[in-house]
Symmetry: C2
Subunit: 166 residues, 2 copies
């Protein structure tokens, strides 16, 4: 019995990952964006599917994972996906991995890696290096200004009685 | 003359940062989301404004910077904001910082810091630690599966003649 269950899980994972691949293929065929797809699953059922649409939507944040998260949240009417899993055709970039954390998705399956993505011209690997503190020519310039004045907002937030933490 | 120009720039920066603060205040007052705001500027003019709307939109990716980027891209009809600057009331979380990189915005000004955000209950600092490879109880589980099969998509991408890299 245990083996059968394991086998079922195995086939489900494969099924979901192939769905993510199909989504990625849609992006390639349509020219909507980069070759990436993602699927969100809850209790063994697909809640949302998405492919990269950066070009089609003129939106640099329209990566497959971000779009799949947004769709799943709309469907479940919640900003939190604690009982879901995400299947991504490629290791998520830092934007998408952070989005997965913010959405509180506890489990991520992915196919290709950040190195594979780099080999076809994408910045995922570069971005991971930025977060490791590596300096490159492509680093953006950052400047902290007027912190004390802006910090007052956080006091207003702290004093707000009906605030919702996410 | 040079001093006057410098002074003008100084006041502009201050003006834009206070606009970002006003946006943050909107989020606090409305309850739309966390106390964060962002402004995108091109040639000294505000292109877009946004405040955090995670709660209002049921969208964990609806951070101020992400929303401001999306709006600016819609306005300029481009997925790239190479000639813009972004003013954020708080140091962007890794999702938003990555979005700024993907949008190719070369300059970021911010007010409060990731530590300030942590003190009022937000995960920004925790996420930065994740990217430094620190293990915590809150780490999500990641698993690479079926890489070889999925990698075929990247081959299709490489062979696509009219592909657009972003």
């Amino acid at each position: 019995m245990k083996n059968k269950q394991q086998e079922k899980r195995f086939y489900s994972k494969r099924k979901f990952m192939l769905e993510a691949r199909n989504e990625a293929m849609k992006a390639v065929k349509s020219g909507d964006g980069g070759p990436f797809g993602a699927i969100i699953v809850k209790n063994g059922k697909i809640i949302s599917k998405a492919h990269n649409m950066v070009i089609a939507l003129n939106d640099p944040t329209a990566h497959a994972e971000v779009l799949a998260i947004r769709k799943a949240c709309q469907k479940l009417k919640s900003y939190s996906l604690t009982e879901c899993e995400i299947f991504s055709s490629c290791e998520p970039c830092p934007m998408c991995l952070s989005a997965i954390y913010w959405a509180r998705i506890p489990k991520l399956y992915y196919g290709c890696t950040r190195d594979d993505a780099e080999k076809i011209g994408f910045d995922d690997n570069f971005l991971y290096k930025i977060f490791l503190g590596k300096r490159t020519k492509k680093n953006i310039k950052k400047q902290k200004i007027y912190r004390r004045e802006i910090l007052k907002i956080f006091k207003s937030w702290e004093n707000k009685k009906d605030k919702i933490l996410y």
